[in-house]
Symmetry: C3
Subunit: 139 residues, 3 copies
């Protein structure tokens, strides 16, 4: 049994879903762990990690539109807006989704279903460099 740590940087180009499945699998391929779990953890509070349908881009666009409407910019009662109108919505959208995903690994491969992809979900309007910390535990 071992622990293997690694990091990933994802450059977002503003709001939306950015698939990172292959980047995570590449990190697993680099280490000797064949069976266990990987925890993909994002070190920010204005973007999320989610597992989502990865085949049809229209599903991602509908998801983004849903979150735009559920937590609108310029909501009248928001007071935390030091970084702009997308500041508070980005924190709420993160709390409504996830800071990390933990995925089982068997025979060196993440055990994702056929249509599952891992995504960075960027909630800020401007491009950002996002830091992810990976903890792979197993044997």
């Amino acid at each position: 049994m071992h622990v293997y740590h690694d990091q990933l940087e994802v450059r977002s180009r503003g709001k939306g879903l950015y698939e990172i499945t292959d980047d995570v699998q590449s990190k697993i391929d680099k280490c000797s762990i064949r069976n266990g779990t990987v925890t993909v953890f994002v070190q920010h509070t204005s973007c999320s990690i989610v597992i989502m349908e990865n085949a049809d881009p229209t599903a991602r666009r509908d998801l983004e539109e849903f979150f735009e409407r559920l937590v609108p910019e310029r909501t009248s009662y928001f007071t935390h807006d030091a970084e702009g109108s997308d500041d508070m919505p980005s924190h709420i959208r993160m709390v409504l989704t996830r800071t990390s995903e933990t995925v089982p690994i068997a025979d060196g491969k993440m055990q994702l279903g056929t249509w599952q992809g891992i995504f960075l979900f960027e909630h800020r309007g401007a491009p950002h460099r996002r830091k992810l910390f990976l903890a792979i535990i197993g044997e």
Copy 2:
């Protein structure tokens, strides 16, 4: 320290919450790990794994009704509807909840609170066979 992998299939009869607490505990009972964690991971993007109140069925019905209203079928701006009007809502409801739950194990038992149960939350209207992958890590 060891890793133990197992799988579960849950047959849903359409939308709703299906308790799987005993099924997960049975898998833990089968392996030699007494202390650690179990990650219950669902390999689909149109259903979820959630921990929820397991005593009163009315709580589950109110939860289901809330999600019906929060992410309604036939939402006018949804474009991803290849599999029907419950297609896009099922993905959004999954993103708003969870793909996996990780539960501590002590003395061979999941350390759930008195009223906590683990549920498959089916978001599609038709019956489905859902595949779950379990990763148990510990000693």
Copy 3:
């Protein structure tokens, strides 16, 4: 590789976010594990564990207000109200957030980003004693 279990009790004073980052780190400091993960798991279905912005209190107040409006007390179709008007909203707010967070540990420290804190998110109006179970796995 080892597993270390511990428990925390958090006394809430009604609805709101209570930071527990230092309490969790103190438990990690007590054990010999330097690299791995900690799973912070709350043993209740009417409060949550979330990672959230920990610098500006206005961000937390806006978040609390958002959840008050998204899942209002006295929603007409709720039937599960044995414990009062905050009963059903508390379960739904928990399902929309998280029962646990898993955070990587490196060199004995949780690898949180600069602005990330771990919070108990209390959804009930009255003060409660909340039990948390911590599973630290690593080497």
